[in-house]
């Protein structure tokens, strides 16, 4: 869930700052290193956890994004397995990572986004999953069972997915081609009857410009990145602000007529207005970022069996549908399709058609180039 809330973000920052005071060592937990080493090179990752299917070994501390879990599912899990589940929330992947690195998170199960799973695998923070204890893994749709950030789903299981695109005020903008031109083309974006907003996130912001230019959003080519930064800088003339949590609000209050943002964030807020037909969420035809949030178990989790059972529980076809019916984000669970409300499955902005899906790209961690992304984007923002 990318719908970050500001006030909570401040708290997250405070946590991070306080986290500076603790040891953030370069030496990960010894047992975590062992787990990483024992994973079979072919990536099947069948780690023996010593747990049985449906076994529980204690209460569960579940770290999640806010508004991202159907509370009835938690109740059902607690009743079925007679354990207590405590849900705790974080506001960004980075805040979650900082909390774990600082040793301040006792989570059993967490829900990091795709690129963060990759970082966490590299840092030996995650436990290799015991696939034998997660039989419902077979429900996962083909396009999610071998993602680039975690080949073979050794460490993570997809939870929900969505895209990053453009929300528009149809009443103001009219019928337009879904294209990044709406943000960057001087003849299109510059001629809109109002202004736009861009995500205040170096990777997402640069990805939008890179798609518009026809480049790979994960490129590390300095020339291409500089071109993207130049496009963002040119767009300053019609950009009102950069925001990762207010893009929908700005659109609804008329400060912007088009905004760059996450599918769920826009759709969620469109459901809440009197005139939903005036707004639309578009996935640009040049391509867009697809993201997944994924369930993973921390290497030092205290209730490993309960954690596996919980993941298996969420991957159940009907439970997965209950989740999507509540969050309005797309489900990676193929088995859930028949139980999800038709209004959701037939919505092309939640479940895009195949030709659009083919052009969706995951953001990958680019290592040292992240600094370049950040500095070029910051410079372009001015």
């Amino acid at each position: 869930m990318r719908n970050r809330r500001w006030i909570v973000a401040m708290v997250a920052l405070a946590l991070t700052v306080s986290a500076c005071g603790r040891e953030v060592g370069g030496d990960p937990e010894p047992d975590a290193t062992d787990d990483g080493a024992e994973v079979e090179p072919d990536g099947t990752g069948d780690m023996a956890s010593g747990c049985e299917v449906d076994e529980v070994d204690g209460d569960l501390l579940f770290g999640n994004w806010s508004e991202y879990m159907n509370p009835e599912l938690i109740d059902l899990f607690e009743e079925t397995y007679d354990v207590s589940v405590t849900e705790d929330f974080y506001t960004s992947n980075e805040a979650l990572l900082a909390q774990i690195r600082a040793g301040g998170a006792d989570f059993d199960v967490i829900v990091p986004s795709d690129y963060m799973v990759e970082i966490m695998i590299d840092e030996d923070i995650l436990l290799a999953l015991d696939h034998d204890v997660i039989p419902n893994m077979s429900n996962i749709a083909g396009e999610f069972d071998d993602p680039p950030y975690d080949p073979g789903l050794v460490y993570s299981m997809p939870y929900q997915w969505g895209t990053t695109g453009i929300g528009i005020n149809v009443a103001e903008v009219g019928d337009v081609t879904p294209s990044w031109d709406l943000l960057f083309d001087p003849d299109v974006a510059g001629a809109l009857p109002g202004e736009i907003s861009i995500l205040d996130d170096p990777r997402e912001g640069m990805a939008a410009a890179l798609f518009w230019l026809g480049y790979d959003p994960n490129t590390t080519d300095e020339g291409e990145l500089e071109e993207a930064a130049a496009a963002i800088e040119t767009a300053r003339d019609w950009t009102v602000t950069y925001t990762s949590d207010q893009y929908a609000e700005l659109l609804l209050t008329g400060e912007t007529v088009a905004g760059h943002g996450y599918s769920g964030g826009f759709l969620d807020s469109f459901f809440g207005v009197d005139n939903p037909e005036d707004y639309d969420y578009l996935i640009p035809e040049e391509g867009a970022v697809i993201w997944t949030d994924n369930m993973a178990i921390l290497a030092d989790a205290s209730s490993v069996c309960t954690a596996h059972t919980f993941i298996n529980f969420i991957l159940d076809a009907e439970n997965g549908a209950e989740l999507t019916n509540w969050t309005y984000y797309a489900s990676p669970n193929a088995g859930s399709a028949e139980f999800i409300e038709e209004e959701i499955t037939t919505d092309p902005t939640i479940y895009p058609p195949d030709d659009v899906r083919e052009k969706l790209v995951f953001l990958e961690n680019t290592g040292d180039a992240e600094i370049l992304f950040t500095d070029l984007f910051t410079g372009a923002q001015g």
Binding site: W6, C20, Y115, D375, T378
Partner: protein, 307 residues
Amino acid sequence: MATTLTPPDSDQTSVPPAKLPPGLETNAEKAESRRGFLIGLPAYAYLVLFFALPLAIVVVYSFATRSTTGLTVLADWNLQSYARLTDSLVVAITWRSLWIATLTTVVSLVVAYPFAYYIATRTPRVRAALLVLVMIPFWSNFLVRTFAWRLLLSSDGPVTRILETLGFANPRLLFTPSAVIIGLVYGYLPFMILPLYASLERMDHSLVEAARDLYATGWEAFRKVTWPLSKPGVIAGSILVFIPSFGAFVTPEVLGGTGTTMLGSYIGRQFVGTASDWPFGAALSVAILFVMMLAAMFYFRSGGKDL
């Protein structure tokens, strides 16, 4: 008289030392200072634990290395993060922060001075009431108050409406550097008013009357009497406004848009962002701290001579 008085006197002064072991006085002094230390201990402990230690950690981190995945490696100590401080981006953001902070300080001073003067010249009861009014904003959260400015400055908000009635075409305030300065002045104005008030209130107003009696114009009396006497307040207020404005984070994040990235946001981005470059963020913080300390020392010294 003398004979009757002397024995008790000598009893008190000479006899006790003779009975007590040598070095008692030093012991008493030591005990006294030990007691003083014990009383101060919680404060010392607090400062060391929550100020000096975190600061030391920031300094240590600034020499560390960022791993490829953005993890801070406390090894391979180097000056790389400091080398990046001269990047054109850092220089540009520093200049922007400097001028926004300077403007904020100047505007605050211009707004606060007459008001502080007004408060200082009221009767004690009115004074107390006005001071409470100055401090009322502190009773609510700064972030919430900053968000309130978002409504006030938005394109259909009251401030924009008033500007439109005054004949400005399409005034945009929200998400501009002006909005950031308005927000900062609003936030830090009390820090300017209070020290100004303190020094103006202490001033002997008969000096102004004397100047007027000697045919000084109102302006001359202000320039030669009131202003020099209020200078400690001006300096203290300016420092109290400039330093937090320079490192501002919340205000530019909430009210800023294009062309408003300040150092605070850039540093924040090193910690909670995909760059995850803690050593660089730490180096930036250390550099700012160092420059601020130098500037404050210089300011106090040069100001001190005039006082």
